[in-house]
């Protein structure tokens, strides 16, 4: 590969990592806002999304420019294409964080329905998966991607578990429904975040092994 192209790809990778770090930060912050019932932090997360949208659009534009001017082929093309689509997944993940913040705003004035046990675990696994997926992309480590994809099953299981648990709260007392419902939705957002990260991993495998893998995004709930 020519040095020119190599440098351009390195530059794009850097920008992708920056975006991923912004999203990671949103995931952490939106959870803290939920845990601490901090409406100000929620607002911060919601406003920060503008920056993420801007960064994402910039990255998209730059990827197109590299494709137009460098005419990449083979692995270079797959890597650049991976960056283009990862961009979209990261942006959607950020949107989910905004949704989590907005939902949190609606129940922040009330005390917690129950101590948060599974939700933090979901959040931690998301963070772990995100770190691993980016690492595997940068280090061309497809094995790490394959392992990380399996973590998504845990998130799916936790989601089902939370659903069953919150169902009992809702049946017990109608006054719980609002808060239970909110937590239910938040859980589903984490589940979607996990799916997006799975996409990142699948794309890494395609970029470096040329094999397209599509895993089943949802374990059936019924």
């Amino acid at each position: 590969m020519s040095e020119i192209l190599e440098n351009k790809i390195l530059n794009l990778k850097e920008k992708l990592v920056n975006l991923a770090l912004l999203v990671r930060d949103q995931i952490e912050k939106s959870f803290i806002a939920l845990k601490e019932r901090d409406k100000n932090l929620c607002k911060e997360v919601i406003e920060k999304d503008d920056l993420i949208d801007e960064t994402s659009m910039e990255l998209e534009k730059e990827v197109l420019q590299v494709i137009a001017t460098q005419d990449p082929k083979a692995e270079s093309l797959r890597v650049i294409s991976a960056i283009l689509f990862d961009n979209i997944d990261l942006e959607r993940m950020a949107d989910h964080c905004v949704d989590i913040a907005e939902i949190t705003m609606t129940i922040a004035d009330e005390p917690h329905l129950k101590p948060l046990i599974d939700l933090p675990r979901m959040k931690d696994i998301c963070i772990k998966m995100l770190d691993a997926s980016i690492k595997s992309f940068l280090e061309k480590d497809t094995e790490l991607s394959k392992i990380t994809i399996e973590d998504d099953d845990i998130i799916d299981d936790l989601n089902s578990q939370i659903f069953r648990e919150l169902l009992t709260y809702m049946l017990e007392d109608p006054r719980n429904i609002k808060r239970a419902n909110a937590l239910l939705q938040i859980s589903q957002h984490y589940e979607r975040i996990g799916d997006h990260i799975t996409n990142l991993c699948e794309r890494t495998i395609y970029a470096f092994e040329g094999k397209l893998i599509k895993t089943n995004p949802h374990k059936p709930r019924y």
């Binding site: 020519s2 040095e3 192209l5 534009k61 197109l64 137009a68 001017t69 460098q70 005419d71």
Partner: protein
């Protein structure tokens, strides 16, 4: 804001009665690579030959308009000075066959009668050959004739020769069209390195090359400057239909 090193204002060029360039207005930015693109006969070669005043040497050739180098009109300057500040590398590598590699690099000084001490000569030869990436390949054979090198090496020798004069602008007229792909790649990487010290104007009919190396692109068609902008803008969002048609291969 980028620094403008060369300013072309209302440039019109003629061969006898036939007009080859029409009202060209263009700014060239310092330490950037500007590529001149366009189909055959669009006037791009005539354009750069106006920049080092080579065009006017053809019988019945005429030029109107202004070309300002750092604010000074090159048509009011001595041609020797213009050509020292604005160097040129040609499509077909043309090292002087009767001179050694050493003398070829110094040819600009020899041909303009500038005297140098032996130390100065040695230093200039080494610097220029290093800058053009040829030093390691020829340092043990400096006194052999230049024509024994391969095409790609000959072209790098010509680049060293132009660089030896410390030009501010380097005009490259399809410098790789006569070379094999590997030499082409080497020279493209060289251009990117060189732009740190010299402004480069590259005429090429190779769209890919323009995309790969240039910061700015000017698209010429039938003697007119149709569009000018950053290469990334021109390649992703050209504003004129003709530009787009050229880029996708519909014309030219």
């Amino acid at each position: 804001m980028e620094n403008i090193i060369l300013s072309i204002r209302n440039l019109n060029a003629y061969f006898g009665d036939s007009q080859v360039l029409k009202n060209i207005d263009l700014d060239i930015f310092k330490n950037k690579i500007t590529s001149i693109l366009g189909p055959s006969g669009c006037g791009k070669t005539t354009f750069i030959r106006c920049l080092n005043r080579l065009h006017e040497l053809v019988p019945k050739a005429r030029v109107e308009g202004e070309i300002l180098l750092n604010g000074e009109d090159i048509y009011k300057m001595d041609t020797m000075i213009v050509r020292q500040k604005i160097g040129m590398v040609f499509q077909k590598p043309n090292p002087f066959p009767t001179m050694s590699i050493y003398d070829n690099v110094l040819a600009g000084y020899i041909l303009t009668g500038i005297k140098l001490t032996k130390e100065e000569k040695d230093r200039i030869v080494e610097d220029s050959l290093k800058k053009s990436g040829l030093w390691n390949e020829v340092k043990d054979n400096l006194f052999k004739k230049g024509v024994f090198l391969s095409g790609g090496q000959q072209q790098r020798l010509c680049i060293a020769r132009a660089l030896a004069m410390n030009p501010e602008v380097l005009l490259l007229d399809e410098p790789t069209s006569a070379l094999d792909p590997i030499s082409t790649l080497k020279i493209e990487e060289l251009m990117i390195e060189l732009k740190k010290s010299v402004t480069i104007i590259l005429v090429t009919h190779n769209i890919g090359q323009a995309g790969r190396v240039s910061d700015y692109t000017a698209f010429f068609y039938l003697g007119e400057l149709v569009e000018f902008g950053t290469t990334t803008d021109i390649f992703t969002t050209p504003k004129h239909k003709k530009t787009e048609e050229y880029l996708i291969g519909k014309i030219g």
